[in-house]
Each structure stands twice: as C-alpha cells, then as structure tokens.
C-alpha cells in the first residue's frame, strides 16, 4: 500500500484512520504511564547516579508520549493536554502491567517501592519499545515512521541502561537474584497485553501501520531471553485483562488522579 503522508490523507479512509488512532493511543499511553511510574522514583533510586539516569530517561520518555499525543491532535482527536489528562481509565490503551504501582505506600508518605519490580519492568518495557519502534520505522503513516526513526536514535541509551541493571543484579547476591526472578515470574502472569495490539490488530497489520502481534512477540521474546538468565517457563498471561481493550486496575485511577491534580485545580494555568 502507498505511504500516507499527512493527517488529512489518513482521514480519507475511516477504517485506516481508526486503526491508526488506536495504535497511537497505545503508544502514547504506554510511554505516558511508564513515565509517571518513573517520576514517582525521583529522589528514591538506590544511589544518586541511578537517580539522575532514571529521571533523564523518564523525562525523555514523557517527551516521546507528547510526540504521539501530538500526532493524535493533528488527526483531530483533541488537544494534547486534554488527551493526556482528561481521558477516563476505560479510554486508556496502555498495557495493564505498566500501570502497576511501584510498591506499597505512596510517594508523599512512606514510599516502600520495589527496585526489582522497576528494573524488571523497565527492561521489559524498553525491549518492547525497541521492537515496536523498529516495526514502526517503516509504517505506512509517514509522520509516525519519521517519529519512530527519531526516537530510535535516543532509545538505545534507555534500553542499555536497564539491560545493565538486570544483567548486574542477576550476577549479584542470592537475594538480588531471587528478587529479580520473582518479579520476572510475576511479569509473565501479567504482561501479555504488552505485546498485543487490541481489537484493531488485524487492520493495523493489513494497513502496514506496524508489524503483526505474532512477529512483535517473537522478536520481544528473543531479545528478552538473550539477557535474562532463566526465563519463566510458563506461557505469558494477562491476569488483570488487556489494557488494549480498555481493561484497567485501580492502580491506573490512582496514577491519573495524581497526574491530573494540578491540571484539574486550574485548567487555564500556563507554565
């Protein structure tokens, strides 16, 4: 199929438009929610260099979410701020695993967050992101392909960072190894929707917006298994449902409430 060069061209075909918008929501919401969970670690990472690195990655990732919301705005889906702050949980398309709380407690009081969860999740997320970006780099929607190519120039730094963390913890003390392994086993039970493309998966593939689910999953598993020592043996599952279908947990509500607190207090504020 011929490349689609602009938002206006994409609007000519309703079926194409719907598949494209659905895909952009997934990409935007994934980067958005993972950045929020990342921002909750500010000042709490194990040491100062890890804190600087994680904050920098998180800020850049939020910038990537902005790019996808911008593409949605250009398609006529609404303003960026509205898309980021005002959509109710059932309209969100991020994978459920990415909205999971960092641990017990809250940021402002007693944050008992779990670094093993974070290292495992960030590694799985960045690996997904790489696989998807490589597939998006030849997307039939050119503005998306250009965005993906640009993000691919920055994202290898993010992936390398979390690969280093997981590789080092796997070679560390028995306690570290156990913690990482438990979080991997947990991820396998929850993260299947990370590799899914939702109800419009077929159209996305047919219109060459992105590669198909099976291919993405195969690539992801190959990359993940090259780094983790003992991949869980059970098949991937999604015990909290699929975020791609709008299914979410209370953790997402907590995240969205916190995220939109300032925005909701004065919607006309400029900063």
């Amino acid at each position: 199929m011929k490349p689609v060069e602009t938002a206006d061209q994409a609007k000519q075909d309703t079926s194409y438009y719907n598949a494209l918008a659905e895909l952009l929501y997934q990409l935007a919401d994934d980067d958005f929610i993972i950045s929020f969970r990342g921002s909750e670690w500010l000042g709490l990472a194990p040491h100062i260099e890890a804190d600087v690195a994680y904050s920098s990655i998180t800020q850049n990732t939020m910038g990537h979410a902005f790019l996808y919301y911008q593409l949605l705005e250009e398609l006529g889906e609404g303003e960026i701020d509205t898309l980021a702050h005002e959509r109710p949980p059932e309209n969100r398309r991020n994978a459920v695993y990415f909205e999971k709380r960092n641990g017990d407690g809250s940021y402002l009081e007693e944050p008992y967050y779990d670094w093993a969860l974070t290292v495992v999740r960030q590694f799985l997320y960045e690996t997904m992101k790489k696989v998807k970006l490589e597939a998006l780099a030849t997307s039939s929607f050119e503005p998306l392909a250009n965005t993906a190519q640009k993000v691919l120039m920055e994202q290898p730094y993010h992936l390398a960072h979390w690969k280093m963390w997981i590789a080092q913890l796997q070679e560390s003390t028995e306690e570290a190894q156990t913690k990482i392994q438990l979080r991997l086993e947990e991820a396998w039970k929850e993260c299947k929707d990370v590799l899914e493309l939702g109800p419009k998966a077929k159209e996305m593939e047919q219109y060459r917006l992105i590669a198909g689910e099976d291919f993405l999953k195969k690539q992801w598993l190959k990359e993940v298994e090259a780094t983790i020592k003992t991949p869980p043996s059970q098949p991937l599952d999604k015990k909290f449902g699929s975020g791609r279908d709008g299914e979410h947990t209370v953790d997402l509500e907590q995240a969205l409430q916190t995220l939109a607190e300032v925005y909701d207090s004065d919607r006309n504020a400029v900063w």
Binding site: E49, V52, A53, S55, S56, I57, Q59, N60, T61, M62, G63, H64, F66, L67, E134, A137, T138, P143, N146, T147, Q149, K150, V151, L152, M153, E154, P156, Y157, A160, H161
Partner: protein
C-alpha cells in the same frame, strides 16, 4: 530589500537565539536550523530537535518566533520541528563546538559507532584522560564525565545513534 538580504538578516538574528539549556550557544551553531523560506513578509523556519523528547523545544520555538518577529519587515513567522531530517552531531558548527567548550560541555565524539563506549577530551584542559561518570546528565542530550588530568567534572553532548531503517 531582496531575498538574499532577508535571508542574511534572519540568519544573523537566529545566531542570537541561544539554546535555553546552553547559554551562549545559538540554535544555528547547534545545527538545529534546517530550512528558512521567505515569502514576502512571511517566514517559515523548519527546525531539527537534538533530542525529540527534549522539553525545551517549546521555549526554543517561542524564542525563535519572537526574535524573528522583531524584524521590521516580518509580519508572520512560523516555526515547525521536523523529524524528516535527522539531527546529527556533525551538524554542530566549529563555532558551536568552541562555545560549548567554554560552557564546560564537550562536543560529541566524532566517528561514534552505536553500541560502543565513547570518550571525549576534557573541554577545559584538552586531556584525553577522562572517564564516563554517567551516560545520563542534566538534560537528555548530555552526559557527565570526569577529567583525570585537571580534576574537573564536565559534561559532553551525547552522540545520537544513527539508526536508519529503510523501506
């Protein structure tokens, strides 16, 4: 005033617009200005961001608009960031590299190969006896290093990974 003179004037004004995170280094010298088109009193500027996730882009756009808008013959100035053209570290001018060093920031390494470790010389004393402290720094496009010769911490601009996937 003919178009050539207009272009020269725009260029001179853009040389005064600094990156908000790197005072004294202009957006021109950072290689962020891709194309300027002039149609009578209308100016369109296409810019290339260093890092797409950079939160300073809004400020840069605002500063470019207001600087160009101050030229008396300009009635309208459009600024757009494009990802079609990729920013590369080669786009930084020699003057830009010198200005970066004065600011305590080394220009990115040349001939960087993705996946390999990289090093740069100290922006203060020029020594190659430097070590990487943190690939991540105060902004997405910078890293933190240390000079073993003059014992100064310094920063360097990260090389972007040249990742080209073609149809």
């Amino acid at each position: 005033m003919n178009d050539e003179q207009k272009h020269e004037e725009i260029h001179a004004i853009l040389k005064t617009v600094d990156d908000p995170e790197l005072p004294s280094v202009s957006v021109v010298d950072l290689g962020m200005v891709h194309e300027v088109t002039i149609d009578q009193s209308k100016v369109s500027i296409t810019m290339v961001p260093t890092f797409a996730g950079c939160p300073a882009l809004d400020f840069i756009e605002k500063n470019v608009k207001s600087a160009v808008g101050n030229i008396d013959w300009v009635e309208d100035c459009l600024v757009a960031f494009s990802f079609q053209k990729k920013w590369s570290t080669d786009a930084i001018t020699d003057e830009g590299k010198e200005q970066l060093k004065k600011h305590g920031v080394s220009p990115p390494p040349e001939n960087y190969r993705p996946g390999e470790e990289w090093s740069v010389n100290c922006p203060y004393c020029g020594s190659a006896f430097t070590s990487m402290e943190n690939v991540f720094g105060p902004t997405a496009c910078r890293s933190i290093l240390y000079c073993g010769s003059c014992k100064n911490p310094f920063e360097a601009m990260k090389p972007v990974v040249n990742y080209s996937i073609v149809y």
